[in-house]
Symmetry: none
Subunit: 537 residues, 2 copies
């Protein structure tokens, strides 16, 4: 039986940006677009060009993707032609192969919010879509409030999307904009749309999670015949978020009846990167990954109940609906580190550290990671710190230098012009090759601005490390993330530092302490050691 | 039309305790049980008496509840009578009016995990349930892996639950133990069970969130005829959690077709406590509440998109599927750069700051927000800092005190036992009511651990603020988020601090500086001022 094609439309960069507290930079958008493309998403909606500067900059710099890059906008305003609408022109000027325009299909919104007649609205939809088609773009129509509109006035709601379809829209996305429609209604209304003559392979579904049913609603629409799913990574989005593609993708690829009936653009090997990509997005947003997230959460395959854990040890299918490896996640069972050791060896080999299967250091490394994770460390991203820990247990970590002590002072006061100024100063004392070296630095940069205590400490630390100093000249701290986490019974600060050097290397290290400066110092030390291993050892 | 009764069975205290990282104390269990009872839940499953000491202690101390207190256990073991099974006896000894016993219904599990014959298993179920009934208890049978069992061997799965039903079980809960069954299958199989002769008003549904469909699966079973829903508050539970009652309750009470068709034990006025109860549970667990949670999340009614926000100001029903007040939640219109003057007025009114439409301060506030956002500030979450900014422009910000200067020192060195220790010290100089006050604090907590420079600074700052000090005793820093962001042309540090006080208030403030200590200090200052406005001004 040939499988039907199901299309995935990602709007992390547009609707996902409506999440409270989320504000992507252009660079972050580029990183996410590349990750989405590596997954095999069909459409990447990048933002609304013209509506905000970051979105415009993203489209100017948009990467070459296999996915169809899509710009978002709205249908032309009343009383002007599609050609003369400057808002629409700005969207088209992003020059994307596809354009998605939102328009109204709910009579109440047309008459109340827009204050125009139903016929005018239908005409605006038709003219806007025709304009896209005339420009050679793939046209996607986002039917705002479609389900509420259909319930209020089915004739008009259908007339509105029919206008888009007849004008040449490739896709009509049925949007449950306020997230209030339940799965049964989504299924029933989608079936009614198809019965009214708009083919399912031209219908998309766009749902929100306001009743925790966004995923179920998307599936209900697919069951009824829709063939495009719109959603976001990690379910980002306005209010409670959009349909979570991080959940929908494994359902479609691994669960029946979907796996047998449908084909998507996501190959099985890309699915194995799903957990990594989900965590990367959280990392960019500086969010704590949700442990209980379906498929990709750290607890998704954690078996706490004693009865479950012992059955899992005999046969994982007893309490697992899928193999966690299929989505790049891992099983967590108390007291089992048999599987742990072989994964660990694999990871060490990947770092160029060949270890014998019988090496007792493997067990010690696992134990230390477990202890450290309980203290608040995290090695998901801090691969360089993980490598140093492993090297230490394997006896492959040179002792380059020894830090004896440091002191940092941060001061803020009024200067002689009665302006508040701040300044930090750091003193570091190290021993290198038996010699004691004292360095002091302050946090002022070339422009006279205070760059803070971690900057002062970093400068003082690398200022004089004897014969190693030359290797640290091209070391640069590029990112710095701090989060409060649980370490044993109390809250601690976890700092993750991303560093890079003149040779294009980029690496991450971690430090944990109740004291933020101390946690930073630990991560800085690791960053330096990791580089010295490569340049000196 | 008379509405049918739908029953709610809560297992927060039993299955919810299987959440990774969750370990309730007996006192916490009592607090949660009282909250569940105040909501109007029908059954409260308190734990497994005999299986762990906290559960036994809970039943010993169990509060008088309107809800039916329920003990959990498993069907009798093979080869002994129900009367002689000490594990079952311990469950009965808790003396609860209802007892819920889990048993196997999937042939594979019976034969593989238990290693007994299918007939023996059916007999164990029947004898166990009959024993409960003979003791005058309400008997509930948890049919483990029922859906997988039905798919593998429908005859046996039905035979197993029929054994419980014929022996007098009041409820048969169909459990999707590994969370892998999708809503359509749950609906189809539940309907098949009813068609096979077990009445829907004796069927419960117990689902897990492994595909993010736990709520949808519960609804699908109700649509098919089941009349009891099992779930947990905030969706706690093994792996990805159980069906979330915090979501299901408002769906059943507020959304169609459920609101018209069914009656539950939850009165509308109890529903208004839902958000508070959800946050209380997070408080007990020391978890940061999920902002995007359906109905009760802080972002659930937050309207960030400019188009949405301006429509909401005209009529909230345009982008809200329910009135947030029905679940005790509140609408938020975040002040992002996408919002305009009318949103701003709406937001200020919500904060109790009535401003005339023509007040030129509105324009100034918007300008300052724009400038500050360009400097790296963000007011999406830091609503308290936003309020202070607005108050300043409106001339409604009292000048409580003036910070003249501060100095923080962080030192790390070896102590006399040759162990590395770190210590921070902060000096703050403020002027209150014309008087200059100097305070010094160090970062050591009661246990002798260093809590870092921000802690020292926070303590020194609130140590002596003259007549304001008394109001700051219950101020607590609960979360602290740091990220590097762009401020103008250079990288700056943005700190967001979440604070709470003894009156249950929780608020967020922001600080931005290249210097992390300084950014933290700014956010701390805002946190203090926001509280003083409420407690003093």
């Amino acid at each position: 039986m040939t499988r039907e094609r199901l299309y995935l439309f990602d709007t992390t960069l547009r609707d996902g940006q409506q999440t409270q507290g989320v504000q992507f930079s252009t660079d972050e958008k580029l990183t996410i677009a590349r990750a989405l493309d590596s997954l095999g998403i069909d459409h990447i909606e990048g933002g609304w060009p013209g509506a905000n500067p970051t979105d415009s900059a993203f489209f100017d710099a948009a990467p070459q993707t296999r996915a169809t890059m899509t710009a978002f906008g709205m249908t032309k305003r009343n009383g002007m032609s599609a050609e003369n609408d400057d808002v629409l022109a700005a969207v088209l000027n992003a020059n994307t192969p596809a354009v998605c325009l939102v328009g109204k299909t709910h009579d109440f919104h047309v008459e109340t919010a827009l204050g125009i007649t139903l016929a005018e609205n239908t005409d605006n939809i038709a003219k806007s879509v025709a304009h896209l088609v005339a420009q050679g773009r793939e046209a996607i129509f986002d039917a705002e409030h479609f389900f509420d509109g259909y319930k209020a006035n089915p004739d008009y709601a259908l007339r509105a999307i029919r206008a888009a379809y007849d004008a040449g829209a490739r896709w009509i996305a049925l949007c449950d904009t306020n997230g209030g429609t339940l799965p049964a209604d989504v299924g029933r209304i989608t079936a009614a749309v198809i019965a009214a003559g708009i083919p399912g392979d031209h219908l998309g579904i766009h749902t929100h999670n306001d009743t925790e049913n966004a995923v179920a609603c998307a599936l209900a629409a697919v069951d009824a015949g829709a063939r495009q799913i719109q959603g976001t990574l990690n379910g980002l989005g306005e209010r409670c978020g959009n349909a979570n593609l991080t959940t929908l993708i494994p359902i479609l690829l691994l669960k029946e009846p979907y796996a047998s009936r449908f084909e998507t653009g996501v190959p099985p090997e890309a699915l194995e990167n799903l957990t990594r990509i989900s965590r990367m997005l959280d990392e960019i947003l500086n969010r704590v990954p949700q442990k209980q997230a379906a498929f990709v959460g750290a607890s998704a395959f954690a078996h706490k109940a004693g009865l479950h854990a012992s059955a899992i040890a005999k046969d994982p299918t007893t309490y697992e609906h899928i193999d966690p490896a299929r989505v790049g996640n891992t099983r967590i069972i108390p007291m089992s580190n048999q599987a742990g050791q072989s994964n660990l060896r694999e990871r060490l080999t990947g770092m160029g550290l060949a270890v014998d299967r019988a090496d007792p250091a493997l067990g010690r490394i696992l134990d230390r990671i477990k202890t450290r994770e309980a203290e608040g460390y995290s090695y998901d991203t801090a691969q360089a710190s993980f490598e140093l820990l492993a090297r230490e247990e394997l006896g492959q970590l040179p002792e380059f230098f020894d830090v004896k002590r440091y002191r940092v002072t941060v001061e803020r006061r009024k200067n002689k012009y009665d302006k508040m100024i701040s300044l930090s100063e750091a003193v570091v004392v190290v021993k290198v090759d038996g010699e004691k070296l004292l360095s002091v630095s302050e946090s002022m940069d070339e422009t006279g601005s205070d760059r803070g205590p971690v900057n002062a400490l970093s400068k003082a630390l690398s200022k004089d490390l004897g014969r190693y100093s030359a290797h640290l000249e091209d070391l640069r701290l590029v990112d710095f993330k701090v989060r409060i986490t649980q370490g044993g019974t109390e809250a601690v600060t976890r700092v993750i530092i991303d560093s890079e050097d003149g040779q294009g290397r980029r690496w991450s290290t971690v430090g944990v302490s109740a004291n933020i400066v101390d946690a930073s110092f630990e991560a800085l030390l690791d960053a330096i050691k990791w580089k010295l291993i490569r340049d000196v050892a």
